[in-house]
Symmetry: C2
Subunit: 182 residues, 2 copies
């Protein structure tokens, strides 16, 4: 049971967002800009960064909700995603994306864990300033969202398939003006 | 030197905010709502929570910029603030605020570190659902901002007095439409 009195039947971040719509608005706007707006990083790549950080923070709701979106955009299966979480370097994704996931992993531990070598490496693989900026901010945003979700002990549907089934709909609805109750 | 090409002379979060104004807008809106809008927690109490989390994350810029605001609102000196960082339980602040700082300290480690006992304790001392919600979200927000500031290795003015001198002005300007270059 959540630590505060949240509306029944809303999983994860949706409960506190319904509780305090005023703060939900800028959080969703930030997610929309970072994860969906035009970007040289694909939506799949950005949702993967979000998923990986949420996995490192052990946030069940976020890693499955955003994992389903990454899976939808990347047209991969959940085993592929799970393998990326465990060892992205062994997987068939671009070297640039691997270098950005490494930066995101450092941000998850704390800002100061990001090293100049990680940045140089990402740059050598073609990452732009904006891509590095957005990777750091996406990782930081999920360090916020994961804490928001778990710090209030919000309930999550334990069935991973539930999130996968909703991936396409979630990709269509986006982060602004979505129906909290859908 | 920052990891990406940021405008010279902008300290801390101001550099990346000038680099990407689109994402700065919702971050500042969230800060305005949580730290300044009407609330049963005073502005000083909320800036203190932000400062304490930034201290735990070892973010020099945020703990001094927001520390100066806490100091301004609470009309205390920097020694008092520094003592709160080291051992808030020993200080002359309300028991309710102590219980909220304890929750914020857990959120800094990760959402799952918040315990039912911490919530019950805060509630027994009069904390409302909204105050608990806002404490968790302020702490989570600063876990994002601290990582954003340090993950991009932004420069900070090393002189703590610089921030203290700006406390009053920062309190007047707020988080929306402030002049990045002032």
């Amino acid at each position: 049971m959540a630590y505060i009195n949240l509306e029944e039947g809303l999983y994860g971040i949706r409960g506190p967002m319904a509780f305090r719509p005023e703060t939900a608005k800028p959080i969703n706007e930030l997610a929309e800009i970072l994860l969906r707006n035009d970007n040289t990083l694909s939506r799949g790549e950005r949702e993967l960064i979000a998923t990986y950080v949420s996995y490192l923070n052990d946030c069940f709701f976020c890693q499955n909700a955003h994992g389903a979106l990454a899976q939808h955009y990347m047209q991969c299966d959940v085993q592929f995603l799970d393998s990326i979480k465990l060892d992205f370097n062994a997987m068939d994704i671009s070297d640039k994306l691997k270098s950005l996931l490494a930066i995101a992993g450092s941000v998850q531990k704390g800002g100061k864990y990001v090293t100049p070598e990680q940045i140089t490496h990402a740059r050598e693989l073609g990452a732009t300033d904006k891509e590095i900026h957005d990777t750091v901010l996406i990782a930081a945003l999920f360090c916020m969202c994961n804490r928001y979700v778990d710090g209030l002990n919000t309930p999550a549907n334990p069935d991973r398939q539930y999130y996968i089934n909703r991936g396409k709909m979630r990709a269509e609805e986006g982060y602004i003006d979505f129906d909290l109750y859908k």
